[in-house]
Assembly symmetry: C2
Homo-oligomer: 331 residues x 2
């Protein structure tokens, strides 16, 4: 297997300390490769980077007609949120309206990603609940799909549950590839995740961004989800996170979503291009530097957007005393 190129590295003093290899594909809705690095055919797990694809059954199964998801709830369905108050309240709101509760979530509980939210929980002597799980919005959306389909909600995370079959079918429809049992794992939040080529995920995001090649229904659903996410970037991640900062700075022009283990997916909407990137070793900060390097070349950033991308493409490494002693940088 050929090694992917080094797309990010850390420098300490005047010498390279770490090297991060990776690959990315930028593809249009006709499947043309606009740009790429490394092996874009090797199947990778997209993890949370394709939550917007996984949310499509909310529309395809008409859960939206029954529960009238707000734009905020749709943004949260696409989110790896930080467990801040607004995230928890938004997830709880949808559950309550559906006659469900936190007990119906099967994602498990973990401490909020946001430090202030963590401290507040600790100070209150409280344990985190499944609502604080970064995936609670996605799971609430999946519960709405189960109710709309008239199937039991219990076990909705299982590979053979109708909800996950609907999710898998929606992802296959947009990326134009079969998702197979031979390349399947379980995500941190207990739902299935299927590996597929970066090229295919990039193609899927291009089709979601443009509607091109999709049914009218899927295309409309994709637009609503991208509009929701890019209109509410704070709900898709949280305070200070790169995805929130980038989508805010690009003012609707960029759909951007991180996935665990160094995945980055999204679309440069005004160009109609989708992209998918994976850092081979799973390093998140390195994948953000790679993403920034890619967007600096391809997204025509204005001055403000460029300044933000440069901070991601050149992340300082500091000593314990706070002196800058190196940097993680895009290559």
């Amino acid at each position: 297997m050929t090694a992917n190129p080094v797309l990010a590295e850390t420098i300490r003093g005047n010498w390279v300390e770490n090297r991060h290899r990776g690959a990315y594909a930028v593809v249009d809705a006709d499947g043309r490769i606009i740009a790429s690095e490394g092996d874009i055919e090797r199947p990778v797990f997209p993890r949370s980077a394709i939550k917007s694809m996984q949310a499509l059954p909310i529309f395809a199964r008409h859960a939206d007609e029954r529960f009238h998801h707000s734009e905020e709830e749709l943004a949260l369905a696409c989110a790896s949120h930080h467990g801040e108050d607004v995230h928890v309240a938004t997830a709880r709101g949808l559950l309550t309206r559906m006659g469900l509760s936190v007990a119906d979530l099967e994602c498990g509980a973990h401490m909020p990603t946001n430090a202030t939210a963590r401290e507040a929980l600790r100070a209150a002597g409280s344990e985190p609940s499944a609502l604080h799980n970064n995936c609670s919005g996605k799971h609430s959306g999946m519960l709405s799909v189960a109710l709309a389909m008239g199937v039991p909600t219990a076990g909705y995370v299982g590979r053979e549950h109708d909800v996950q079959k609907a999710v898998r079918g929606a992802v296959e429809a947009v990326i134009g590839e079969s998702l197979t049992e031979g390349k399947c794992g379980t995500d941190g939040c207990s739902i299935p995740t299927f590996a597929a080529p970066l090229r295919a995920f990039a193609f899927g995001f291009a089709r979601m961004a443009t509607g091109k090649g999709l049914s009218t229904e899927l295309g409309t659903a994709a637009q609503r989800l991208f509009d929701a996410a890019t209109s509410h970037p704070h709900l898709v991640a949280g305070t200070g996170h790169a995805d929130t900062l980038l989508m805010t700075a690009f003012k609707g022009r960029l759909m951007q979503k991180i996935g665990a283990e160094g995945v980055q997916c999204g679309a440069i909407r005004n160009k109609g291009w989708g992209y998918a990137l994976k850092c081979d070793d799973g390093n998140i900060a390195a994948s953000q530097a790679m993403l920034a390097g890619m967007l600096l070349k391809l997204a025509n950033p204005d001055a403000e957007q460029k300044a933000l991308l440069e901070t991601l493409a050149h992340q300082p490494i500091k000593s314990v005393r706070g002196a800058k002693v190196g940097e993680l940088r895009a290559c």
Copy 2:
């Protein structure tokens, strides 16, 4: 530049998720390569993995004669400790005996690595001090060198300070290579770190393990430091850490030390072999899996040691709900 081989990978379900490349050298005291993978001539920063080398001036500059370092204090000089009570007390003890205090440490303060110690500090409403810094033992040792040399202690972390010149000279003497300004950075604890080939660090550890090729004084110093570290493995790292567990299980036969950003150095003492390993991307868990894979092949582990190495060579990856969904494994 040729890519190093994949020495560890993570599996999720039935598919590879992450790949970690790296290199290692196992060398004897005559410089013979016993085993190797990848590019062992590419200079890498050893970081904390060579603290035992950096402690040699305690003897070379006769600080030991003046301050009579205990075996525990020598072990702590070689340590990246976890800020547990015994670590803090041991560092404070030497400082007090030297007429110095925490204010003389220039490593900076960070929260203890050990979770219980962190919780205790938080519960007491206390801030961490430089004594909790994982390097406080090394820094206390360096302060003893400054006093023994009769030079000012202030600024002892600086590249041009006599203490750091002595440290650099000692490392050069054992690894048989010049450390140059062209491959130099600043470590997290503010002292200089110089990049050199893995082969050279492995050679240095073989010489320290055997005394072969070193002056009697350096050889004796190395034995005292290795004996201290392997007799007090809990002082070299902390509760539950791989280095502590490994040195405990190998009962003096293994000197093992982690360095930041995926470095592992040490010696299989009874064989007289030194080793040095670096995970290209800096991932610590992956470097531990690589180390375990290497020791399984080369260290003739007994049943108990083998069982421990297998837990490091096959680390489970769990979902938020605690189900095993994959593993990080040595290749």
